[in-house]
Subunit: 303 residues, 2 copies
């Protein structure tokens, strides 16, 4: 059963210079390294990318910077959701026009009490307005942050109405039971757990792969489990992933991931996040870098 976009798609973190601007060269270097480490493609412009802290123009330029650096469009899975339909259309259409592998679509997330009908109407209008340029859409389910999510009933309606377009879902609910339920309910849909913390169990159930913040620092390790989940050492590989995941998650996932990237690249600006998010406090960062799982991770020289 070949699911669309099957594999590992790290949600690529974004490097901000001291003045707050995006360092596009450093961004693309990081993306290349993720591909070298075994990522099948790049889920740029997601939550970990701080995409919603970027203007539409900055987001468009992040896509284009990858193309300009020679990374093929079919390795890009940009996040294109927005509160305003017009913004979502502009970015989704751009992704379609360049031939991106697909897009990760957040539901509009300002208003909280919205009905499935209202979200359905948003997606239907988005697809209509993109016309012939519509790319494949992966629904991005992250209710702990967006508060608005994709219910099972809504996913069913969308898949029925747009079977060629709505082809998958990233489940960042943090709720393993929800991921397993969606895999079971929609066997043709490519379901990606938003954490590698239960990747083995998800792959055994039929998940398509993984899109996880900590893949920014552990792409090689996650890829190894993805390749070997039917082998004898799969449980040991999962345990190894869990150590790294816990090390960053317990200190604040996004700033911790960026602190490790800064250490690995020797580029301290990677520690920066855009307000309202903040870098790790210095003692927490020191503690993180002393964590055995992170020490081991940083000791590995990439192939």
């Amino acid at each position: 059963m070949a699911l669309p976009l099957a594999g590992l798609w790290p949600p690529v973190a974004t490097p901000f210079r001291a003045d707050g601007g995006i360092d596009e060269a450093a961004l693309v270097r990081h993306s290349r390294r993720l591909l070298d480490d075994g990522a099948h493609g790049l889920a740029i412009l997601g939550t970990t990318s701080e995409a919603n802290s970027q203007t539409l123009d900055e987001r468009r330029r992040a896509i284009d910077a990858h193309l300009a650096a020679g990374i093929p469009a079919e390795r890009l899975l940009p996040g294109t959701g927005a509160c305003a339909l017009g913004d979502a259309v502009a970015l989704t259409r751009h992704a379609g026009e360049i031939g991106a592998a697909g897009v990760l679509l957040l539901p509009p997330f300002y208003y909280r009490k919205v009905s499935d009908d209202g979200i359905f109407a948003f997606v239907a209008r988005l697809i209509e307005d993109c016309g012939g340029s519509v790319p494949r859409i992966m629904l991005y389910h992250i209710p702990p942050i967006a508060m608005v999510g994709w219910s099972e009933a809504l996913v069913g309606r969308l898949v029925e109405a747009f079977p060629e377009v709505v082809v998958g879902m990233k489940d960042s609910s943090g709720d393993k039971a929800n991921t397993l339920r969606m895999i079971s309910a929609f066997p043709g849909l490519a379901i990606f757990p938003g954490s590698e913390g239960y990747l083995l169990e998800a792959l055994r159930a039929g998940a398509a792969g993984c899109i996880s913040a900590s893949a920014n620092i552990n792409a090689a390790g996650i890829r190894r489990l993805y390749d070997r989940w039917q082998e004898d050492d799969a449980d040991a590989l999962q345990a190894g992933l869990n150590g790294v995941r816990k090390a960053v998650e317990s200190r604040g996932l996004m700033p911790a991931v960026k602190a490790v990237i800064a250490e690995r690249t020797g580029e301290p600006f990677w520690r920066n996040l855009r307000p309202p998010l903040e870098p790790l406090a210095e003692p927490v960062r020191a503690d993180l870098l002393a964590d055995p799982a992170i020490v081991d991770l940083l000791a590995v020289v990439p192939a």
Copy 2:
């Protein structure tokens, strides 16, 4: 005690044509009527305006359409908050450059677990990036929707750091106790309840005025209470406001307000909302228009 921007500032609803575009002429007509009905100014581009369902360009044009129609900038209080600092800067600076009365600032609302330090940094950067063009800022507190809010501690820090800039707050928490607590804690700050449902009590406590969705249909009534809150008929006026408020709120505040505007103007497109929001279902609309409070409201011919 003259508080900045004291008075009634309706959060102006936005008319969408059948194709989803904004009818700027109808928007400005509605704004003019609100001023004719006694509004001191116009809180355009708020939650009721569906501002976050509009692109940055549409929002800038909504401001400019008011100016082009001869409505003075000092009667405009646009919402300029955004998840991306760059977007918030662009719109806030524009408001400052045209000489707007001030801006209503949402905190960045995508990430939920943000610290007061992180939001403070966002505002500090916003003010710095606006430079000499920074307008007066009213903090827009609407945690039931934005989820992120302005805590009392954060308001205190902002007022201390930027006393000439941060001059007020709209409190749409729906929590009367919070409004009264903020009025008591910050006597120099202009506090506006986000509902006229407790306007009399708020004015008695020292509120600056009112910014409420239902002011789109009942500006004259709210203005009357604002002018007469120390008179003998104030309680009766408050009761009258409550009848109208309840009629719309119980049916869905924003679509109900727009349904009443459509009825009053004879312009059915006013019923439209942008996805993910939806118009009232037809039976609910019929029921709303038969509500005695709305029948009475629509029977009044404006002076």
